[in-house]
Amino acid sequence: MIKRIKEIYAYRTMIYSLVKRDLKGRYKGSVLGFLWTFINPLFQLLIYTFVFSIVLHSDVKDYYMFLFVALIPWIFFSTSLAGGSTCITSQKNMVQKIYFPREVLPISFVTSQFVNMLLSFIVIFAVMIIARYTFNPLALLCLIPVMLTEYILALGFTFILSAVTVYFQDMQFIMGILTMAWQFLSPIMYSQERVPVEFRAIYMYVNPMAPIIIAYRDILYYGRVPELATLLSALLMGILLFVIGWITFDKMQKHFVEEM
């Protein structure tokens, strides 16, 4: 395992190049180019504001913000899963012809989604400043471990899904449905307090994304330090899934080429 980590480290430039290619290549040729990275979340925010603050009149204060600070991290997670499941099969040509540690592909994919999320956060912060939200420095500091936890979790899932998809291509479509269901089962559009008390324990501890989303909202929307227990349980689940994911991936990757 140590050897493997060393090898992946030796290929760090490849990860960097692939992430860069993905981010730079995505909007190449379009007139607005890289600006699209900001325009997308901004327009999403405008639409949510219109629907939930003007049409639906939600009783939550600044519902658009309530939703937005949860939705951006969720989009990172769900794209990592849905898109990440094909990150090996879509690079078929490369995988079949060139040796490199296969982990590089899921790592690059998740990292590029992660960087995209960080860029969207610029929009979040800009809106927070304009809407005169108070920044709690200590809470903002907690954003780093929360983000890292989510990154590890997403990577763990992507490891498993990308490997399984090689053998079983339905996985990518199944994930499309699953992530949609998962979105509604996570406290993104509503607060976890809406969940009946008798289900809440299951709700919080079976779904690893629940504590993460709650932590994001605590930090950004409520401006408070998230509960340590929430953070810790999220981190533990993240690490567990990451380890399981990597072991699964390592077991399956030996036969990738034959199965493609």
Binding site: M94, I98, Q169, V257, E258
Partner: protein, 432 residues
């Protein structure tokens, strides 16, 4: 692992599941379980070989013999079912060119992406980027997006990256046919230079000529086992004659099938035909030995070497004219053929090769029976024994009759020069 070896392959085997109709999706897998029938095809049945440091070897064999699978396992993109592969040093593979190229990004940016996929770090790429650009000859276009490149430029850039990835072991699969003739020659010279720097090279190729130019040893894999292994000069003729026999017997099978079909219709005519065919096959078999192969539509019947006076000789001075008279028979009634010659020194160094296509960009017209004379005004080599190959073939390389080691000549030198060839020269001092 022995210290002098770069690669040791011990008894590797590999089976593939060949699905008759593979289902990848849930529906296909559950509903059509019958479709998932597969055969186990044994591609490699125990292959072992060693490659010394700095040695260049070629893997040859017909399609599906397992040579590419072997290379893939050396590259570590596949793993053997049993057996071990040990390698010593940094491995780089030239199997896929231009991996990861993004059409909208500049040539320079793509060099970074592509080289990083080969495992180079940013620092290593920066050290090499100038020589990569120089090698690709794309200095003026390097900051343009790759989509504006012609396919030749694209391949040149891709090859330039691949060939500049320094490695201890270089694995190459059928990719030397890149770009125009000049660039191909450049690639080949670079490959030779890499070899002389001590890099171990393994090449899979169908171009035996290329392999002969660079490899010290050829390994012929046939149906998953090594059939023959040795100097390319010795292995290739055997391989070629085996392949020619194979196609011949296949063609014969076809012929016989056809005959059987027509049998019912005209039985009488059949008898005569069979006799004729039998005659043909007997005749065809005559010149076949491991030094000679081809379809036998044209057959060299006699080859004599004379001086300008027509006297037969086997020893010449390197200043004397040499006439080679090639008598041929033309049972296949071929109208035109390329005629070629190759000269080797007796230690199998390739000295010279040419043919009518190269010399005059044309084929020679043939009769049913005749003689072609090839005149060397002189063969300017240094003293030694020389081996001559002759061939009649189509422009695409299909051989009517390829004859290795048709004759040998002893060539003497009047002066005591050193080296391989005798170069025309003169001296001048400014005191004269």
């Amino acid at each position: 692992m022995k210290p002098e070896n770069a690669i040791e392959v011990h008894n590797i085997t590999k089976k593939f599941k060949v699905y008759l109709d593979k289902g990848h999706t849930l529906k296909e897998r559950t509903l059509f379980s019958k479709r998932r029938k597969f055969e186990n095809r044994e591609v490699l049945k125990g292959v072992s070989f060693e490659v010394k440091k700095g040695e260049a070897i070629g893997l040859i064999g017909h399609n599906g013999c397992g040579k590419s699978t072997t290379l893939k396992m050396l590259t570590k993109i596949m793993y053997p079912d049993s057996g071990t592969i040990e390698m010593n040093g940094r491995v780089s593979s030239l199997i896929e060119l231009g991996a990861g190229f993004h059409p909208d990004m500049s040539g320079r940016e793509n060099i970074y992406i592509n080289a990083s996929i080969f495992g180079l770090t940013k620092k290593e790429i920066e050290e090499r980027i100038d020589s990569i650009i120089e090698f690709s000859e794309l200095e003026d276009f390097i900051d343009n997006p790759v989509r504006t490149y012609s396919s030749g430029m694209y391949m040149r850039l891709a090859f330039a990256v691949a060939i500049n990835v320094d490695a201890d072991i270089l694995l190459i699969d059928e990719i030397l046919a890149v770009g125009d003739v000049a660039f191909q020659a450049k690639c080949f010279n670079r490959l030779r230079q890499i070899k002389s720097e001590g890099t171990t090279i393994v090449i899979v190729s169908h171009s035996l000529g290329q392999l002969e130019l660079i490899c010290d040893r050829s390994i012929w894999i046939h149906e998953g086992v090594i059939k023959e292994e040795g100097a390319p000069f010795d292995v290739h003729p055997k391989y070629m004659s085996f392949m020619a026999n194979n196609t011949l017997s296949k063609a014969k099978d076809k012929q016989e099938k056809k005959k059987e079909e027509s049998k019912a219709v005209e039985e009488k005519a059949e008898e005569a035909k069979t006799e004729e065919a039998a005659d043909n096959t007997e005749e065809n078999k005559k010149p076949e030995d491991s030094n000679r192969w081809g379809s036998n539509e044209i057959v060299m019947s006699s080859v004599t070497v004379t001086d300008e006076k027509g006297e037969e000789r086997d020893t010449f001075l390197n200043t004397e004219p040499i006439h080679v008279h090639i008598g041929y028979e033309n049972p296949g009634k071929i109208e035109n053929s390329v005629v070629g010659v190759a000269i080797y020194r007796d230690d199998k160094v390739h000295i010279y090769g040419t043919n009518t296509l190269i010399d005059m960009s044309k084929t020679l017209p043939l009769k049913d029976k005749g003689t072609i004379t090839l005149v060397f005004d002189r063969i300017p080599v240094n003293a030694g024994d020389y081996i001559f190959d002759l061939a009649f073939h189509k422009p695409d390389g299909f051989n009517y009759d390829f004859w290795r080691d048709v004759f040998r000549l002893k060539i003497n030198n009047v002066k005591g020069e050193a080296g391989t060839v005798s170069i025309e020269h003169s001296w001048k001092s400014d005191t004269d």
